[in-house]
Subunit: 356 residues, 4 copies
């Protein structure tokens, strides 16, 4: 197994949900880059638990950077960041070694690691690992911003309600900033309210819902990426599926392109200011694995939170019998809500081999 | 750039559409594995051009294995396979250095490689590179078959028409064999005919269409893969986006999961023959990056073939002017048709680090 | 840059000499392996400063394992270990940003990282990074020991004095245990005393000396490693040169083989107990990159500690003038003394891709 | 196993000694680099068999580049090169599956690959694989030369005779050119003659001898490489041990440094033309893994050719008995003679991740 990503810039995630801490090593950052701890803290707050309709688990998610910085500036050495787990309640999970939770990795992880896996809160499979993912991603986003590259996402759909989509050709920094300032992160505040009502209703029933996050990257120069396995889609999907609960990813028109024709899907070119520019952006800013210079756009689908209070069918591995299971504990009724910054961070990490 | 994939078993693709040959190196195959050239040739024939409603380009796609075998059996050394390009017509493409084709990598590749890229037929970005991909994938599939693991795909959708889906929990080897024996590769022969009619109609208009390929992997033991970036979804998506024209991928319910609830999406467990077994397979056989033991199921969306005879908007890079473009040459009106074995091969390659 | 090693098992080192801590992430350890903290502490003590004729810097080098263990047993998740830097005195190093120390990486690191590198104690280039290297190596050695594989080294030469060599064909676990129990780690205690006298004499003069460490790996099954770039020599050398101050490495007869003949260097075979066995072990247990089953033997040469009190020629980078430099601070007069466990640890790490 | 090297630029070697061909894929070359086939052929001629006191095997070693070039210029796509095996005599080797040759990988390879390995001429373990290594290395050297970086080596020692060493601080391009023009490649022609006499005498006795190759890299900018596992020594040693028969490597003073003192080994600095410059070059141009700007210097030790006509002890694996073995066939009595360009090529490959 490898919880690592990247080749020039390498990220290594570690930690378990109810262990001492979670964290990350980022190896390959350029030297001389200032890291702003307040920008980092503000980003972490967007993912942090304890917000409206999220798990009541209290984690301040303060990021301690224990190597790689000298007076707040990267020094070329690997950066290690640590986020302590302060609100762990392992006793919640004692039953789960025997009764695997449907929709979770409990059972295959038990088989893979012969019962030695850390079952507490899902261990290393927990969405808690997105905390160091977000921290690492934001450090990169701070560097990208100085190079004119912005990454932003919004909650495109949740529990059957839809936000407005990004305008493929004209999405702007202001749109990204607007979404980053809202909770839920939406372009259309009313759509956001409808989503929250649906989520609230599901929670009251002891159930949960899924969602879709749409992400844009602005300012990418054309020609990044590569053919075949080195394309931006390959790398971004490999990183985004690192976020627990992601079930699909699509670029540009994505699955809708399957029902389109070449004449409606192709993005024609026109000269503009002496440069060729695409007339439309059905491609989502990536052709043949290479950035086109238009906004890069992709969507990631999240399944409903598997931990629900409603009774589900499960088995008792010790007794070899069927047994119903109701997962108590503290859980988000819709993980997509807090996944918005996670998708931004995963995109930042995926692009690092090209941008760093 | 890197046209390589994998860590324990590494695949390296090389060649350009209208160069001397295309090929692949597979490094890390186990020794002692018999390779059946007829099985390989039959697989290559499923992808080969010259079939109904595909490009009339004539390529026999005979695979020459120039290293790594001793008397038809792997010897542990890297296997190099070569497929000669016999029917190249470079003159078709002379205009394209000046006028980039919409929907192709021509323009970003021109920028990336400062005009030195091989423009003939798309060069290294051509779908011709799926020939060595298929060859490499089939070598692995021959090995997997001896271990009880089968990979098969079908054309789930094309130009707006749909095939029957695989039954998530009960898809069988016979289903895979049926699809592999048909062209187009469908479960429902009538749906296949409707697809072909639609494709024919698009071709007559000088247009093209997209499609969706659904793939199943049977016989995977539970616990393969890993958390975070090492999940089966990460690897499979990183490989499948290596096939030109793929725009999206989803596992299990995929994007549909975003509108489901936890209580309808979670796969409960029951004991069966002393073992826990999922009651449903909305997860598509993968939870938290790990195989569950149920059939692994994913779908890949293909955009319409970008090369169309209809007039499109483009630009003349030399003259700096707008110019219309009609792409003549020999092209598939629906790449998804011949992409079915490519998706199988990509899945085989993605699983090699776990299975070899 | 990448302070990472390995492909199946990956090690990532982080930290700077006078930062908050040094540490490592080990990703890919098997689950279910018990880690004995006392064995680890005893190993760390062999490398720790504060011993006879080493730097008086006081570091307890207590290893805190903050992830990857559940009740002292590996759980399959990445293991992160941290060693706090408790006795840092950054003021010792303030001059060195201007006046690079001869024999150190100060000047090229200054150029590489545009002056942003952490100069305090050599930063990430410091031999302090061998503390997490040793910790990671010992965790592996504990696992190997349960599989019958033992790694041990001794101080083969220091400041012109030589220890007895390991017997290439008959080195035993007892020999390794004897060396591990001694300081300096030698087979011949009198040779060790002569070395210490030489080192003492050099220290009194404000000078320093070099040395050679010889390492043996016992119990390796034959056939590990691979041809070309995948040989045991390739991997071991790539890991051992990760220890600061190493200037050369040789396997078996090494450089002496260059003056031998085929008839004296080749190791003949005889049947013994139904198995072929080498009559001699000039190869040092590795042929064509593959382990032979005989003891694996290599030697690493260490240069003299570059930090010396004697005046040396240097330059003032700010003023652009020549200037003499005397390096005060706390330094080992012979780094090879404490490097013995570091070489064992590096060998353990190098073998992990084959043994884990 | 992996016959691959590198991360940004990746080399993949394939082929067996008596298979159809040997070859290499180079992935990651920049686009727009002209390749001069005559320079390549001249380099290949330095390694080719058939020279004085080498194997009489006749191989023209013509390099066919089958992908990655358009009109002699790199196009950004992976470059595949193939060298046909034209003079194979497999019958020479039929006995060797039963009776492993001392000093060869025959026995451990038999164990590793369960008897399926290609025994003919050593298969993938053969020194024949240095032909594609040299070809790949020379392509890189052609690119480096345009950036002012030159790599050259000489036969520093053979069978007990020594050439003059390179002057560590003042080795010049003319020295490299002189060695490249001579066979054997020496600075001192008389030393070369003495070497040849010794080799001739060993051949007449049916024996063989070892040697040492010294290599210099001129024009490297300071600051290349990295700390810990990313140092130039790590990479160069990992590549150079890919050449069969290498038993040791040392940088700068290497093993001699172990008997030096800090005051004699450290390279002081003086200002020269406004820049700090080392007064001596005991470091061989690399400190802490980073290039210093002085000539990079290393030496590689080669063991005597293991294939000798003299009788040696071996075993019959089928019969389980001891048996004498005399290796007939066509063999170099001193592999170091033809290894000089191989070392240059390995150095070129090792530096590619930094220079490309």
């Amino acid at each position: 197994m490898s919880s690592m990503f990247g080749s020039r810039l390498r990220l290594s995630l570690f930690g378990q949900s109810h262990g001492e801490c979670v964290g990350a090593v980022l190896d390959g950052l350029p030297a001389g880059e200032k890291i702003d701890p307040e920008v980092l803290a503000a980003f972490m707050a967007r993912r942090a638990p304890g917000q409206r309709l999220s798990t009541p688990r209290q984690e301040k998610d303060r990021v301690r950077i224990v190597s790689g910085l000298v007076e707040g500036v990267t020094c070329g050495a690997p950066l290690c960041l640590i986020i302590d787990n302060t609100d762990t309640r392992s006793s919640d999970y004692s039953l789960l070694r025997r009764v695997p939770r449907p929709g979770h990795a409990d059972l295959p992880a038990h088989i893979k690691w012969h019962g030695f896996n850390d079952i507490r809160g899902g261990g290393h499979f927990s969405a808690r690992l997105t905390a160091p993912l977000c921290a690492a991603g934001n450090l990169l986003m701070q560097i990208y911003a100085r190079r004119g590259i912005r990454i932003g996402a919004h909650l495109y759909a949740a529990c059957g309600e839809r936000d407005l989509p990004f305008d493929p050709l004209r999405v702007r920094e202001e749109d990204l900033a607007l979404c980053a300032s809202r909770y839920p992160a939406v372009l259309d505040a009313e759509a956001g309210e409808r989503m929250m009502e649906r989520i609230q209703a599901l929670r009251e029933k002891g159930d949960s819902g899924g969602g879709i996050v749409e992400c844009a990257v602005l300012g990418l120069p054309p020609g990044l990426g590569g053919p075949l396995f080195d394309g931006l889609e390959n790398r971004i999907s490999a990183a985004v599926f690192g976020i627990p609960a992601v079930r699909g990813i699509e670029f540009g028109e994505g699955f809708a392109a399957a029902a389109m024709t070449g004449s409606t899907h192709n993005d024609g070119y026109r000269m503009r200011g002496g440069q060729p520019f695409p007339v439309t952006n059905h491609a989502g800013g990536v052709l043949g694995g290479l950035s086109t210079g238009a906004p890069l756009l992709f969507r990631a689908a999240f399944k409903p939170t598997p931990s629900i209070a409603l009774h589900q069918e499960s088995v008792d591995l010790e007794q070899g019998t069927d047994t119903p299971l109701s997962v108590s504990g503290r859980h988000d009724p819709c993980v997509a809500l807090r996944a918005v910054p996670c998708v931004e961070a995963a995109a930042a990490i995926a692009l690092a081999d090209d941008l760093i």
